[in-house]
Structures are given as C-alpha cells and as structure tokens.
C-alpha cells in the first residue's frame, strides 16, 4: 500500500519528472517549478514554458531511516537501508525536492550541519565530503527509478552530487 498516484496522474507530470519542464512568468520573469496557474511572486497569470538545467545546490536535506520509509519506498529501504532526500535550489531559482543519490547516508549524518572551524573545508584540495555538510553542495539531475505501482515503473528525477566547477 502506498500513496496512490494512478498512471494518468503520473503521466500528467511526465514532462516535469523526466524533463524538468517548468514555466517562466511573463509578468515578473520568475521561473517556477512545478508549473502553476498563478505566479506566487507577482500574481501573474501568463507564462511561457521553461526548461530547467537540473543544476543546483542542496538547500537542505534529511536521511530517512529505512524502517520508517513510506510503504512505496520499502523496496528501496530494504535494499539500501537509509536514503537521502534533499531540497535542492536550482540555478534558475525554484526549489525542488528529490532523493540525493550516490551519497553515503552515514557520512551525510556525520557531517556538521553548520560551518564550524573544526570542520571547515579548506577548499582547493580534493576535499573530504564526509566531513562537509551536504548543504550547499552542487548537484545535477539524473533519471532514476522512483518506485513501482500497479506494475508500472515510475521513473523521475533525483539529484547527484557533482564536484565544484
């Protein structure tokens, strides 16, 4: 049993999940994701389509303990135990919530949440991500399997930490 997202519901958001299709407000230029009917910035109603780059930084995150995962994610929790979910701030502005892949949940939990001189990243060097909070790290969007329901694999964006450019 899981949150019921029927196939038609799912398919209506495919452009968002596969292609990060958002919109740009013609009134104020704000980039929005997912698409809305009213611009939260200026109240405008006119938009043009805008694709998002998928590049951004982790704004905040959590590590979900496997035992408490929603039922539709039990397959994942069974396989990997804990997993990381992040709130990512995209280059274009919108925040987007998704799993963060390729990060060791234990390292994510071991790193301090705020800058502390004892852990300060020296920069320049290769850096030890295990000692650095995930917050602020650059990420890019990737396509992964999100979960399955009604025999249909639901693919969608997740984010992967990339090295600083």
């Amino acid at each position: 049993m899981g949150a019921y997202i029927s196939v038609p519901v799912w398919e209506r958001t495919i452009a968002q999940r596969y292609g990060l299709k958002g919109q740009r407000c013609l009134g104020c230029g704000a980039v929005l994701f997912p698409p809305k009917v009213v611009c939260p910035e200026c109240g405008g109603h006119s938009f043009e389509a805008a694709s998002l780059s998928g590049r951004g930084r982790i704004y905040s995150f959590t590590v979900i303990a496997g035992g408490g995962a929603p039922p539709e994610f039990e397959w994942q929790a069974n396989a990997v135990g804990s997993y990381v979910v992040g709130l990512v701030e995209l280059e274009e502005g919108p925040r987007i919530i998704a799993q963060i892949v390729g990060v060791d949940p234990r390292a994510a939990m071991a790193a301090p949440l705020f800058e502390d001189s004892a852990f300060e990243d020296s920069g320049g060097s290769s850096g030890d991500k295990g000692k650095r909070s995930l917050i602020g790290l650059p990420v890019k969007a990737v396509i992964r399997k999100v979960y399955e329901q009604e025999g249909v694999i639901r693919y969608g964006y997740k984010f992967k930490v990339v090295s600083e450019v």
């Binding site: 495919i14 292609g19 389509a49 694709s51 990997v80 990737v142 399997k145 694999i153 693919y155």
Partner: protein
C-alpha cells in the same frame, strides 16, 4: 562516411570484487573479471542509457566548435518547449565548422539492451522526454542477444547512409543478471554507452568512422539464453562448446567482412582466399575489440585471428566492470580509443557476438576526435571511481535479502 562525432558513457558507481563473490560462494565463474559494476537499486538499463546519452548529447556541443553552447533544453526555451524542439537548420552543413547540434536535431534513435525493464513497452517516448529528442524521431529497439549493440549501430549507419536520416543516436545499455549462483550473474556487470552518428566528411569532429560491417549467423545456443517470462539467463555450462560457439561465430563474421571487401581473388577457391585473408587480419587491423561475456574470450578470439594479447587487452573492460552484455564491445571500443594506443587513421576490428548465434564484424577507422577522448578518458575515469561493496550489500542491492 558514417562518423561518430560524440560519445557518452555511464558505469554505475558500485563494484563487487570477484574475490568477494568467490569467498562467499566458494567459486567464481567470470574468467579474468576482477570486479564488476553493480547498478544501484534504482538504476536499470533505461536510467543508465539516459545518463550515457545525456553525456553524448552534451559532447556534441563541445565538439561543435563555436556553437551557441545551448543544450536542447536551452534551445527549447525559445518557446517550443511543449512541442518538438526545433531542428537546427545547419545540420546539413556539418562539413563546415562552428555548427552546434542539439538533441532537437536527432531524427534516428537506436536503443539496444538485453535487459530492458519491460519485455513489452517501447522506450521511445521515455527517451524523447528525458533527452529532448523530437517525438517524431524514428526509434528502434534492439535486444534479442548481446549482439544488439552493434545491431543498433549498424542500423543507424544504414539509415544515415540511405540519406533518409541526418543525425542518429545509438544508446546501448545493459545490466544482465540471474540468480546468485548463476554463472551469468557472477560475471554480470553493467554499463551504458552512447554515440552520435552522422554521415559526413568533417574529419575534425570524427572520433571514429564505420567503414563496413558484416553479419554471420548459425543455429547454436552458444553461451546463454533466456526464455520469455524468465528473468534469469541460463548458461548451459559446457565451457568448450560455448567457447567454440563464440569464436566460431565471430570468425564467421570476420570472414564475411573480408569477403564483402572482395579479398577473394579471381580463380582462387573461395575457401582458400578467405583463409589467406584471415591470416592477414592481424596485420591489417591495429587491434581487436570483442563482446566480453568474460575477460578471456576476446583473447581466445584474438589468438585465433592472429592478434597478440597486447593488441586485444586495451579493449577489454570486463576485467574492471564485469559483463556489460550488449554494451560490452562498444565500451571496449571506447576503452581502446582512450588507451592512447591508437592514432587517427588506425583500423580496429570490432566484433560483436550474440548467442543463438550471431556475430557482427565492423571495420572501425580511428578519427581525429580520438585525441580528445584519450585525453579525457571518460570511461577510465568512471571505472577508477568505483566504490567497493561487500557480498551482503551486493545481495541487498540486488533485492535478494
């Protein structure tokens, strides 16, 4: 000339050492495999394909010289997002420099795997949504054996050669598997490779070109098979029979390639001419790249064809990532190009094998783009970046615990 102008590659980050498997099971069946790539639980042939294809599409931009640097998404930002990203009007002029190609220019897609997540469902729409490829693009899916990768490549090359298509994307992604004790599973790795192809003469952006191909088949189960409705491929476990099927089918394809290229002289008996031609293969081609159910069979094939091991080894990736199925020979080709042991103008012999049995032999001419590839080493950097996991983690990620 069919040129490969961009490539992308993806190898999952996790690695399982063969010693780790041997320790747990008491034996290990993948000859010459040191470690194998393991997809994360949320990865499959489709997600890996998207990663590799995205890299290849990004690479088009960098190889395109002074293009506007726009990704398809940026291109689409001009207002055509919900429809089809506009085709570049400059594609036909790729002989000139400074053109920028994007996913919106691709009109032919070939997607190959032996491990599609669905037995029945096209991935055309999914690829289009993920990659920004027009929904009007022709999409072919290839998958009945590990030979599917070159089958896709040859189909794309033929389509371009016909003049009916302008820019092709070939994506080969595979993650074969079986039960924990299955020999296929023990060797099974994972990976994906993607190529962008065009018909053109611009040498600068050409990584390699395809100068010909031949196919040869015979009725033989060969190494492995998987019946409809089954998730595990089965290996009969008759090692000598499998080896002979592999080598014999591959040699048949190589012979066919030589025959096609009219190496059979007048008055000579066909048989004799072929033997003579085969005997010179080792000197004509700089190296051999073949499908890699393990890391040893390509060496066996090489020895039969007259290639010393060191001219086969640069193209062997199974040792570091396991059996990547339909993608293995193309990943091997990329490894060879990265290795620094070939220069523009060299010829490589690419041989792809599929149980059943069938093989393709392709004449690959190294292009000037190889220098950038051997500098960047996209595959090697992924192979070196793996994270080793223990046997229990491996079982969990496979979903067996």
């Amino acid at each position: 000339m069919i040129q490969i102008i961009s490539c992308g590659v993806y190898v999952p980050a996790l690695r399982v050492g063969s010693s780790e498997i041997a320790k747990a099971l008491g034996a290990y069946a993948g000859a010459g495999i040191k470690k194998k790539a393991l997809p994360e639980v949320d990865e499959d042939a489709f997600t890996m394909a998207v990663e590799a294809a995205k890299e290849a599409l990004l690479g088009m931009k960098t190889l395109g010289g002074s293009g506007d640097g726009s990704l398809p998404s940026a291109r689409a930002g001009g207002g055509a997002v919900e429809g089809e990203p506009g085709r570049s009007a400059t594609v036909a002029g790729t002989a000139g420099t400074g053109t920028s190609l994007g996913p919106g220019d691709i009109d032919y897609v070939a997607f190959a795997s032996t491990s599609f997540p669905y037995e029945e469902k096209s991935f055309a729409g999914a690829l289009a949504e993920c990659l920004g490829i027009p929904k009007t693009a022709f999409v072919g899916e290839f998958g009945s054996s590990t030979r599917a990768g070159t089958e896709a490549l040859i189909s794309a090359a033929s389509a371009l050669a016909s003049g009916a298509f302008r820019l092709a994307l070939v994506v080969v992604s595979d993650c074969p598997g079986g039960g924990p004790r299955n020999p296929v599973e023990q060797a099974a790795g994972a990976g994906a490779v993607a190529f962008v192809l065009q018909s053109g003469e611009n040498e600068d952006r050409c990584i390699f070109s395809l100068e010909g191909s031949s196919t040869w088949s015979k009725e033989s189960l060969g190494i492995r098979s998987r019946r409809t409705g089954f998730t595990e491929a089965s290996d009969l476990g008759i090692a000598r029979h499998s080896r002979d099927a592999f080598v014999g089918t591959c040699v048949g394809a190589v012979r066919a390639l030589l025959e096609k290229e009219r190496r059979v002289g007048r008055g000579e008996s066909e048989e004799k001419a072929c033997e003579a031609a085969l005997s010179s293969v080792g000197s004509e081609f700089r190296g051999l790249v073949a499908t890699q159910p393990d890391a040893r069979l390509p060496l066996d094939l090489g020895r039969t064809l007259g290639f010393q091991d060191e001219r086969v080894l640069p193209g062997i990736v199974a040792s570091d990532m396991g059996d990547a199925g339909a993608a293995s020979c193309l990943l091997g080709l990329l490894a060879y190009l990265e290795s620094g042991s070939v220069k523009p103008g060299d010829l490589l012999l690419l041989v792809s094998y599929g149980s059943g049995a069938i093989a393709d032999a392709l004449r690959v001419r190294v292009g000037r783009g190889v220098d950038e590839i051997s500098r960047q080493k996209p595959l090697r950097s992924l192979l070196d970046a793996g994270t080793d996991v223990d046997f229990v983690t491996y079982l969990r990620v496979r979903g067996w615990l």
